[in-house]
Symmetry: C2
Subunit: 150 residues, 2 copies
């Protein structure tokens, strides 16, 4: 029976601590340089990549719930970075789209975001990075899998 457990070696703790350190760094930088919250950046990144989407689709793409997507979108709408487009197929819904200034902002952010990621990953081999990505996806999938532990 392994009854030893050191917190600093416990994976859920490691993951949380690492994620928090990275998120904090990123969040501060986004705030300072672009006046954006991470949730807002997520919307911009997805919309720039995929074009106009409904709030619901944005929830799925960004892995955020409706409330958080709404709040993030509202801030961007207020700043004129997003606009609403009516959805002819369903009167209940609409699509959110980047405005010109939203697109411009996205273009400003991307190089910086990539450089930021590169610095975090500096010193790692291509193989390491791929492995990390794979392992994180796997953890996410298993955790989202639900009733692993009850």
């Amino acid at each position: 029976m392994g009854t030893e457990l050191r917190l600093q070696d416990y994976l859920p703790h490691r993951l949380s601590v690492a994620s928090n350190a990275v998120s904090r760094l990123i969040a501060r930088s986004y705030e300072l340089r672009f006046g954006l919250k991470i949730a807002q950046w997520r919307l911009i990144a997805v919309l720039a990549d995929e074009g106009p989407l409904t709030p619901q689709a944005l929830c799925a793409r960004t892995i955020m719930d409706k409330v958080r997507v709404m709040r993030a979108a509202q801030g961007l709408l207020d700043r004129g970075l997003l606009s609403r487009q009516p959805n002819p197929e369903d009167g209940r819904s609409h699509r959110l789209a980047l405005t010109r200034s939203g697109t411009r902002l996205h273009r400003d952010i991307v190089p910086w975001a990539l450089a930021c990621e590169a610095r975090l990953l500096q010193g790692l081999t291509r193989a390491d990075i791929l492995r990390l990505d794979t392992l994180l996806r796997r953890l996410q999938k298993r955790a989202a899998g639900a009733d692993i532990v009850k």
Copy 2:
């Protein structure tokens, strides 16, 4: 100039999403089975491993700030899982220690916590797990390194 960026391939996002999925699963389980918050579990784990510590030492060990440690400790004190010991060396300070029931609770949690971790890591090789741990530590260190990106 790489101007492509897919959110789902962006490391800070991957890390955040994976961490959140794991944390949510763990948090629910701790709550259901032991009535503990993650922050409280961290205190218990560290105190069981290292013996009585000051709140300040607990901040360092758990990577949580004073406020969070205080809130977590208060809940455990209220439930009689922790007790305060005066610190003869410094009248300003005191040490927090597990009570008998705190120690008992810890003994109940550990096997479950290890099983939980094992299920999350199921299917991964020993080498994968070590690699993941190393990579997470590295990310944490680089992110905590501070002014990587301003």
